[in-house]
Symmetry: C2
Subunit: 432 residues, 2 copies
């Protein structure tokens, strides 16, 4: 007898769960398209080699990898889309029109211990803009992310995008006396801060070679968020002579896109992965402790790393699991999803029974969503209840000598000839 | 330097390829929904054990299987959806409303040698109707398949669904003197017939214990197709005293659904997999030699095999690769796919440049698909060409002191205030 559960950390999507999942995938796609991004997709597995390019050998233990019985190549299930994207861009860099604006919504698998917000199979929305320099590109990508958050029902009070810039953080660290070759170590420490006690963080900051004052300022600045209208306070706290130009330029662009109310500055955000090069950002629930809803930034060196030409790039990823948890907590999961039938067809007498299939076929071929009763009862009251339960717009009552339609919202009932049926049931704009 | 190709037998979907792929997935979904099926989904990998339940150990060499470094469980990438479906149904058999009408459009991976029509990663449309006995259920599932073929532009002249019934074939074989315990062997031989020389087929048929006359009749009947109006000829050829009741009932139902012109009878179709129990069918290109476009049938014992209750079931699968090849051969792949922008926004002077982002943001937040020029040129003629190339409905010309819209199909140009812009560009039903 086989096990009836899905593998640990994976999910079965029954119709109710799938209705939400598809709603989410559709919303990701709709927002991507209206922001001018084009959909792409790659293989669900790649060579293991490909995943090491960006992340080194350290990634291997997090992967589901495999090799064919007599094969020579190691493969791994896709843990994220970025290596595939970089490979695809590098392969056709010279023939792709620029800027390249791509999105995708693939599943991905990581061999991690399943916990709240983290599963072994998840779906991730990826949005990337390549071939375009400057904070305008960064801002457009962040706008797209926020356009989705608004689309799905969140408000600036619910979540914030925390903006940072690696060059600014590096500049601050250098000003505190950090040796340049320790910058990556400092980034790693910052990235781990949320999971550490304050004492441990200070101790490890001291190990970077910072003196006590520098550790204190580092701790303070990296642990504080600033309103984007409050760059002056940030500049003072950082001990800088003038506002950091890269951040100011980004803020100006985000303000032009009209999303300033979603944004704040948080120089504690560096995104541990070594390939980010400038702007970095994460979306977090306001006041929440959960994992980031989304994260991304600029990665201007990555396409070269995958054998392509030098190409500026900025993008982000958003997983389905943390987002769904948040929406559930906030009561923002839509109550009634799934597609409403246009018609629920049943026979009112035995002679009508033979006419149900032709009627249903006619409606479906006419693009209408038609369901039928599979019951043998001729109890019209019960069958109408089934039509309501199915949330149909119309019940279609098929008798041996006539067809009647009943509009369920208004209880309007009328007799129609078979050749009028399709026209009568077709939805009109604005009508229910 | 990493390899820039996807793994053998898998595909990269760049925007052009993805536009078709998404169009296909959307068509599968649209047709499924209007036929009253609900979408489900399962994990991209399952335990290896699960895949052995239905197919035995023989399946293992066709799977991409793996085990974690310190793990105890073997997993495999999904080679098909049916085992997951059976597991999911069995797990909730008592709480799921019946009949269960499910569809899905997952990818699946098989470690086969890639060739025309057969890849290592492909997408498969699955449609299943469970909990309902009788030829009406079989016919509804076949109707759904044909509704899709019509939706995608095929006609009864292009492809036919070849109907068969395992009980009828078994009855014919018994009539020819086949021992009942050799029935499965005979099914396997029939299933392999397309790939065999006639001599080899006759020789193997003889090895089943049939005499020369029986071999000849077996060869003849299983190699011939009959119009569904021609059951009399079939009955005569089979040497039966009356028409096979199961086939006649199926044909009557398909005729009621209005799809008789898509159907023919081909008792050479048995679907090799041992779990089919009654009606079986395949869709083939008319006169074509290619692999089946789709195949399915009744599998009334499968849910029990997976630990669930006895439950009648019928369904089919259709892959994306053979179908796409056929549509390409027939010139039926749509020429212009992808979403047309509602607006293509650009600045006509330097003062306008700063207003582009706010205008674009306003349109996108208003649900419109808005693109913008990333060029620094102010040459309106060139920028209008870019708008046309992007297939936008409107160009939006943003100057420092005014905004103009140009409807590209009619060249109608007008000046609009920012607060009228969204309303003016929003699509109206029936307008372009």
């Amino acid at each position: 007898m086989p096990k009836l559960n899905p593998p640990k950390g994976t999910r079965d999507f029954y119709p109710d769960q799938m209705a939400w999942h598809q709603h989410l995938l559709d919303a990701w796609r709709r927002v991507s398209v209206r922001n001018g991004f084009e959909q792409v997709q790659g293989p669900v597995f790649e060579t293991l080699e490909l995943y090491k390019v960006k992340s080194g050998d350290g990634i291997v233990s997090e992967l589901f990898s495999f090799r064919r019985a007599n094969g020579k190549t190691d493969f791994a299930l896709r843990p994220e889309f970025t290596p595939t994207l970089a490979r695809m861009v590098a392969a056709k860099a010279n023939s792709l029109p620029r800027p390249i604006k791509w999105f995708c919504t693939p599943n991905a698998c990581r061999a991690e211990r399943p916990q709240r917000g983290r599963l072994r199979e998840f779906w991730q929305w990826n949005v990337d803009l390549l071939g375009l320099e400057g904070p305008g590109a960064d801002a457009e990508v962040v706008f797209t992310l926020l356009d989705f958050l608004q689309e799905i029902g969140l408000k600036p009070d619910d979540a914030k995008v925390k903006l940072s810039h690696r060059d600014v953080v590096a500049q601050v660290l250098a000003g505190l006396g950090l040796e340049p070759e320790r910058t990556d170590d400092a980034f790693k420490l910052l990235d781990a801060r949320d999971k550490m006690e304050a004492d441990a963080f200070a101790a490890q900051a001291a190990e970077l070679g910072l003196d006590a004052t520098a550790v204190e300022r580092f701790t303070q600045v990296s642990g504080k968020t600033y309103a984007i209208s409050d760059v002056a306070a940030l500049t003072a706290d950082l001990g800088l002579s003038e506002p950091p130009a890269d951040l100011v330029a980004l803020i100006d662009q985000l303000t032009a896109f009209g999303v300033a109310d979603w944004c704040e500055i948080d120089l504690g955000i560096v995104r541990g992965l070594a390939y980010y090069t400038g702007t970095v950002f994460e979306v977090h629930e306001t006041g929440g402790k959960s994992r980031a809803l989304a994260g991304g930034g600029r990665y201007d060196k990555l396409i070269e790393l995958f054998g392509g030409p030098a190409m500026p790039a900025v993008g982000f990823g958003m997983g389905d699991v943390v987002l769904t948890n948040l929406l559930e907590d906030k009561g923002l999961l839509p109550a009634e999803l799934g597609d409403r039938p246009d018609a629920f067809v049943f026979a009112t007498d035995d002679a009508g029974a033979a006419r149900v299939a032709p009627v249903v076929a006619q409606l479906r071929r006419g693009q209408l969503h038609a369901r039928m009763s599979y019951k043998t009862t001729r109890n019209v009251g019960k069958l109408l209840k089934d039509a309501e339960k199915a949330r149909a717009r119309f019940a279609v009552l098929v008798g041996g000598d006539q067809i009647q339609t009943k509009h369920l919202a208004t209880s309007t009932q009328q007799t129609v000839s078979p050749d009028q049926l399709l026209a009568q049931l077709s939805p009109r704009p604005g009508a229910d």
